[in-house]
Amino acid sequence: MKQSLIGALCVIVGVGSAFAQTPAKKPATKAAVKATPAPAAEVKDAATLEFEKFRAEMEDSNPAELFEAKGEEQWKAKRGPKNVSLAETCDLGQGIGKIEGAYVKMPRYFSDADAVMDAERRIVWCMVEKQGYKFDDIAKQPFANETFTPDITNLVTYVAGQSRKMKIDVPLKDPKVREAYEMGKAIAAYRAGPYDFSCNTCHGVDGKRIRMQNLPNLSTPQGAMSGVQGWPGYRMTGGVMLTHQWRMGDCFRQQRFPQPKYASDAVAYLLTYMIGNANGQVYKGPGIKR
């Protein structure tokens, strides 16, 4: 009985755990009240500090490395109907096969596709155009669950790992990228749906939180970076590897919007706005998430 309840909890993903009821947290909060009748802000800070103490240890051996290793194998292998490797055909903006530092310089404009593309969208484009995979097949189940991790997730994780400790450098001077940035900014501000929510409802001001979850202000460099850092990320809940594209979709889910299409302009523009705002900050590579 208890196990099945916990099992169900594991299905709740993302900040969803903060939005949804979390019965399992009860013991902690009760104990916290006993210890300190003070406002919860202090309790949160203690908890946050405690989490941070173990952050480094968690990041030191991050299961994301397993997906990164698989992605490397898949990047280098001849695959797909055309039996070519991405290493010998795919240009992530730094030249064919050059992936060091490519992740932190996307989204960028690709003339061969005539589109602004984030890393995941670009790799999908290469898989379709160069290797001959069908987009619809990839888009059918583009994100990992507890029993399945799509190749694209491994590939993105590998490519992201090749930008460890590098500065975010989205080429906002490129007019096409700047245009995408402005559109992303407008998408982030767009209120609609049954609850009148936009991205900015939660992520437009400093110092707020939903339940205990701190809400980064995506319009500031530090805030935007905390929305970029750790993606793609290994999510402890369920133990699945998830990408930045997935995270954008989950925000819209909680915004009570319909679902953004996979590898679409809308997601690429939003990512351009967000990652562009984080320009100059250091990316630590694939991360680990709650």
Binding site: G16, A18, F19, A20, Q21, T22, K25, T29, K30, A32, V33, P37, P39, A40, A41, V43, E182, M183, G184, K185, A186, I187, A189, Y190, R191, A192, G193, P194, Y195, D196, F197, S198, T201, C202, G207, K208, R209, I210, R211, M212, Q213, L215, F252, R253, Q254, R256, F257, P258, Q259, P260, K261, S264, D265, A266, V267, Y269
Partner: protein, 205 residues
Amino acid sequence: MTTKIFKAAAMGSLMLMAALPAAADTTHRAKAIAVIKKDFQPRGQAGLDRLAEDGLQAICNRTGNNPPAAIANQMQADQLAGVKFPADGKLLGDWKEGEKIAQSGRGFTWTDNPGLPVGGNCYNCHQIAPKETSFGTVGPSLYQFGKLRGNNPDIQKYAYSKIWNAKGFNLCSEMPRFGHVGALNEQQVRHLVALLLDPESPVNK
């Protein structure tokens, strides 16, 4: 269901929108809306109808949530006029039920079962009863709400109306219009009123 309400609200505000300066709708916004319309797909209970702005959303979006006072006042009055009160006139329900509703954050997402009741999401953004230390800070603290304001019929009506449709008081408030969009019914809203105002509620202890 929500679509119908959106449409009704949109009608009333069409003329108001015409009064806004044309420059308020930037080319980026117009293009962004086109991208949104093109790049979303329905999933679960979240249909594409949710992407359409109703009149209020359009005004807030176009003005950066800072509409001219004349428009704001008139539209707020419209929103407030739509608040539906219980037929028996009783606005104070059971605070214990209210607490349960305040705790739940479920409802309206594409992963929620549309057949299940929708939560009030209250603790996501507000401090309320002191026992719950896991609360958000997007909205103001509601701890001691009734203790500070009393529990007279006017306060009850205010609290009820605010939960039903926060936009009746602040047009571009970040708080959802829980009653207005059919997320919470009269019964649920008055339980929440009790959570805030009942002297027996832990909020006021």
